[in-house]
């Protein structure tokens, strides 16, 4: 199956928060979108230029690149419903 969703996640360092966020996110995506998403994780400490280019202000910030439109969510990524809603994975009522 082709990858349908392309995502970019910005985190700060390898702090417990970063690791938790990654774990939560993967769980959410693997539940219903396994195999159809691609996730790139960028550490703003290691690659600050990328973060600046993307105009990142705070982490964790998750950006959906494909399919359009581009959507960006920020903050606590532990609530499944909210994450999917925010990324336009589900239709907005």
């Amino acid at each position: 199956m082709a990858v349908k969703y392309v995502l970019k996640l910005y985190v700060t360092g390898e702090t417990p928060r970063s690791q938790t966020v990654l774990k939560n996110l993967k769980e959410i995506l693997d539940e219903d979108y396994k195999g159809v998403y691609s996730l790139k994780v960028i550490d703003v400490i290691k690659q600050p230029q990328l973060a600046e280019d993307d105009k990142i202000l705070a982490t964790p910030t998750l950006i959906k690149i494909l399919p359009p439109p581009v959507a960006r969510i920020i903050g606590d990524l532990s609530d499944r419903e909210k994450v999917l809603l925010g990324l336009d994975f589900v239709a907005i009522r």
Binding site: Y10, R17, A51, I56, R72, D76, V83
Partner: protein, 699 residues
Amino acid sequence: MKKLTKKADQDKKYLQALKESEARFRSIVLWSPDAIIVTDAKGKIEYMNPAAEVVFNRKMESFIGKDFGLPLVNGESTEIDIFRPGKDPGVGDMYVVEAQWLGENTHLITIRDITMRKQIEEKIKQAQEALFIINNKLEERNRQNSLLSEMRELLQSCSTVQEVPAIVISYAAKLFPGTDGALFLLSDSKSDLQSMARWGYFPEDVDSNIFAPDACWGLRQGRVYAVEDMKTGPICPHLKKSSSTTYICLPLIGKGEIIGLLHLGTKRPVQEDDKQANIFELKEIAVMFAEYFSLSIANIKLSEKLTSQSVRDPLTRLYNRRYMDEIIQHEILRAARQQTGIGVVMIDIDHFKQINDTYGHEAGDEFLTRLADFFRLQIRRSDFIFRYGGEEFVLVLPESSVEDTYKYAESLRKEIKNMKINFRDQQLPSITLSFGISAYPDLGLDTIELIRIADKALYKAKEAGRDRVVIGAQDTAVDITERKHAKEELQGSLNSLSKEFNTIVQVLISSIEMKDPYTASHQRWSANIACAIATEMGLPQDKIDGLRMAGSMHDIGKLSIPAEILSKPTKLTEIEFSLIKEHSRSGYEMLKDVESPWPLAQIVYQHHERMNGSGYPRNLKGDEILMESRILAVADIVEAMASYRPYRAALGIEAALEEIEKNKGVFYDDAVADACLRLFREKGYQLKYDGETNPVEKT
């Protein structure tokens, strides 16, 4: 016209109020230290306050219209990381609320920079963790110290080495958890170490449990030897079979010497940072453990030694049963030689159990102690009293006949009734004793027999109603015959011995005569006088015979003194005199290995001793001097003074008797002196010389 102006004025006022209101609210936003961001419903930035520039460390113009991101919370706080190039990332507390702005949905986002606070919180957390660890370590150390104290107390109450291993194992398991270990003791021969306690998975094979001291580096160096990784070693040769990865070997030192080894091994590597202390942290505890253990082993060994050497009963301080066997053996040999008898009395307290039950064990102990004191006071110097059992005592009376013993026991039996014992302000009932008598040689020839017969007699005394003395009876007729035979045999061999002996004696006496005829006749005369005194004192014939024998050779030591000194007419120099004094010792040396029924060597050795200790060569006093020697001493003086000497004329018998009288009780035994005086003055004993070699007695 007026209506328009009013409306215009109203409008103006309204506008003014609005401006003022706006200014007020604007200043709140402008001056807020927290970043305030307003985004549209999708997260596009519409406004950022000046604080945002500080918080995010960049100019904010380029961000207007850009995507901040859709916050997923509403009306809540959430923590985020602040990305600010040029500075370290910060931590922010982001509060989001949805609001209506000019008819549209917006997000009102406030971000407070809490980086500093976070850092402080982190420091506090680290400090708390460190404290927690230290606290745990302290608690653990306390626990270990308590265990060590417990162990030390338990070890102190051990009385044998056998009780130690179990204690050591249980405390080792608690003090050194997770270790395999063993305690070794150095054998008495000091040639090897043997394990006396093992815990954990310490191997059981022989090589691991018995080995020579130089198989351990710790013992060779005399201090703790530790190996962190047994793969890199070097490991002690005695640990070939060990499955540990880390270990320490700790020598045990007691009284400055190596007495054993403590070995602790573990499979856990040193780096593991878990709650259990690693093996090197256990070293301190191990050192204290080893010290306590060494101390208690040394103490136990000492007290074991003391107990085995003990000859006294702890409560009464009387000699104990073990010592009694030795003493009686010794006395039997002496009595056999001197042909005297020994009385053996077994004594038992009547109704002692009742006293214990009625007044308690402490009262019983008081009884025993007082009774022991009583015995000690009553008996003669040459007698012995032993504690034989719980309430039994044995009295041994050397040089006593059955009759003597009986009389003595009777007097004790009566005397004890006068003893009053008080215990805790209560007067205890007076006690009575039962006595069973046996005697050497008439009622027993060895310790076992003597005790058995005395015991039987005691039993009879109890049966017959207590508070009495019963003399033992010989065993069955068969025994008597056997004993008679034994006695006859003994007598036979003594007789043949004495024939040989007499020959030897004659030879010795002749040699004296040849050297110095004066000494020869002096000896003969002294012997006669001594026997006469002994007869007057009522001594047994056997002793008189011994006295004659001893007397006739008492100056045999003079054989080794140059004749010139012996017959020197003038006063002797000090050196010459000390040579003369040596003759007692020389005589003893000559006679001590001669087999005879009498203590000839001792009699000769002691014949110049004086009752008050002023004699020679050993300054013996009073009771220390044999009776025969005391008699011989007097006879010797009398003869010497009464007869002719090369260096002076005869002083005469009267002068001799005066000397005896003057120093009676001082130099000479009272009874002996009295008998001598009686002999010459009342009984008309005379010395008459017929020529120089044939004295004639006249009584």
